[in-house]
Amino acid sequence: MNGRAAAGASEIPGVARLERSPFQGRALRSLVLTGGVWLAALIAGVPLVSVLYLLIVRGGSRLSLEALTALPPAGFEMGGGFGNAIAGTVVMVGIAGLISVPLGVVAAVFLAELSPLSRLSRAARFAAKTLTGLPSVLAGVFAYAVVVLTTGSYSAPAGGLALAVLMIPIVVLTAEEAIRAVPRITRDAAYGMGCTRTQVACKVLLPTALPGILTGVMLAVARAAGETAPLLFTALFSSYWLFDGGHPHLMQPTASLAVLIYNFSGMPFENQIELAWAASLVLVSMVLVINVVSRLIGRPRT
């Protein structure tokens, strides 16, 4: 290769060589760096592969109908499951959603459409952005101070409030973006038809922005479902069902998948550790499915 290149140079003296050898100088450096970047990218993929692998292998082996429906086992017990934890997660994320979604979407309409430049809007936007960076354990501290101390007991609503604090900023900011993304001309059309500002928002903007808003909501839900710290001292944990004898006992400690995983991972019992893996598999599946679905919904309608 060098010979050929050298021949090229000698043919036309004074003209720089256009052919290059891939192993010289700058080209070599570039090649090495590219190889490095590929390597780094693959290394970055290793944790994900490892986590998923373990979840499927260790978690999957313990997954069964019993695991999904039974109550958590005590120390030396065999068997058992985390049915109440699944129920608890669903209930508390549901409470959090009931609080955060209406509040967040309506606030987003204010920020995006009704009064985007006012001081209140700027303050609310700043508050939402700040809250996105809030350590999740502090949301738990807040809910503890507000609900647990006033009601005197750990409860599902306390956990729900803590999760809502985490969800609200996500819902507000993504909904605001989705509403802003509605083209100006669509907005003009709605006003041109003689809609009041509320009608523009409710009849046109929100329906058009719905895919984006749903994506935001689902991302918030996925985040909330996976959170542990906020629940540790608001809902605590429980080895019993929420619904007993036909009606729900909401004002008592409530189990959740995340807290179960945390508790069981530290126990010296093989059974509990295996259950922790199985619960992790269920939790991660839930979260990943929500993520994928939100991505599909979020595709703009053509």
């Binding site: 083209p183 041109g192 053509t302």
Partner: protein, 284 residues
């Protein structure tokens, strides 16, 4: 200086003559009597001294070079400019005698009676049926929805093309079809006036032709005011033409009405030299 003042006097007299001939208190054929003294966007004077009348059952065309304020004037008729920050209007816009800019008139109510079709087709992201029914539902129409929707689509010359896909999204139509859908949406409630802001400029020539034919048909039922940058379109379609131009004497570009009158007259024997120059293509 003297010539400019003479110009101004002549113009005002010309406007005055037209005004006298179409005095709203005596002429029920004037649906909108628009007397603009000054229109500002923030500190920028966009339009000055323009007196236009929209006559019933006629198509009034606004023509003029870019930046002459014709869109601003059109959008002032249904208070769409209220949506722009810093908009201020001095003057009166009388709709059937009532000044729509008076303090106790709600702009939302104005827009219920004066419909608008925009430059870019902008159907809502809902079904074709829901698009057309939107205005009917908004105005709380209690009668036969499907019948009115069909009527509107027929008026917009779109019915045959969409009657089998009423549930499809409005956005799935072609550009020209979308614009006809927007026209159907606007006429579904049979508003008193239909404003059209360069409705064909985003469309291809064939779609443009269809809409021009449509406009001539719509004229039988609706009063229409249309802004167009295409002189030939105005000649083809408009009964009355209002020619606007740009005044640069005050340091910025301010639009104003030069003259208005029956289309034939404006194009063939205009009163103002400026008009003559524009319609003969000497500037655009």
């Amino acid at each position: 200086m003297a010539t400019m003042m003479a110009e101004r006097n002549r113009r005002e007299t010309a406007n005055g003559m037209i005004a006298a001939a179409a005095d709203p208190s005596t002429n029920p054929d004037v649906v909108i009597d628009c007397q603009l003294e000054q229109v500002h966007y923030g500190g920028f004077l966009a339009v000055r001294d323009s007196h236009v009348q929209i006559q019933k059952g006629r198509i009034t065309g606004f023509i003029g070079p870019s930046g002459c304020g014709k869109s601003t004037v059109l959008r002032s008729l249904n208070r769409m400019n209220d949506l722009i920050r810093g908009f201020r209007l001095q003057g009166q816009v009388r709709f059937h005698g009532t000044d729509v800019y008076s303090r106790n008139v709600d702009p939302v109510a104005v827009r219920r009676h004066i419909g608008m079709v925009f430059q870019q087709p902008n159907p809502f992201s809902m079904s074709i049926f829901d698009n057309v029914a939107f205005g009917l539902r908004l105005n709380r129409f209690k009668g036969n929805m499907a019948e009115r929707v069909e009527r509107a689509l027929r008026q917009a010359a779109l019915w045959d093309e969409v009657k089998d896909k009423m549930k499809h999204s409005g956005l799935s139509l072609s550009g020209g079809q979308q614009q006809r859908l927007c026209i159907a949406r606007a006429v579904a409630t049979e508003p008193a006036v239909l404003l059209m802001d360069e409705p064909c400029s985003a469309l291809d020539p064939i779609a443009t032709r269809r809409i021009e034919e449509l406009m001539v048909q719509l004229k039988q039922q609706y009063t229409i005011a249309i802004v167009t940058h295409n002189m030939q379109q105005a000649q083809r379609v408009a009964d009355v033409t209002a020619f606007f131009s740009v005044d640069i004497t005050r340091g910025s570009r301010t639009g104003y009405l030069v003259e208005s009158g029956p289309t034939k007259q404006v194009f063939e024997s205009p009163a103002e030299t400026l008009t003559k120059e524009y319609v003969s293509g000497q500037f655009s």
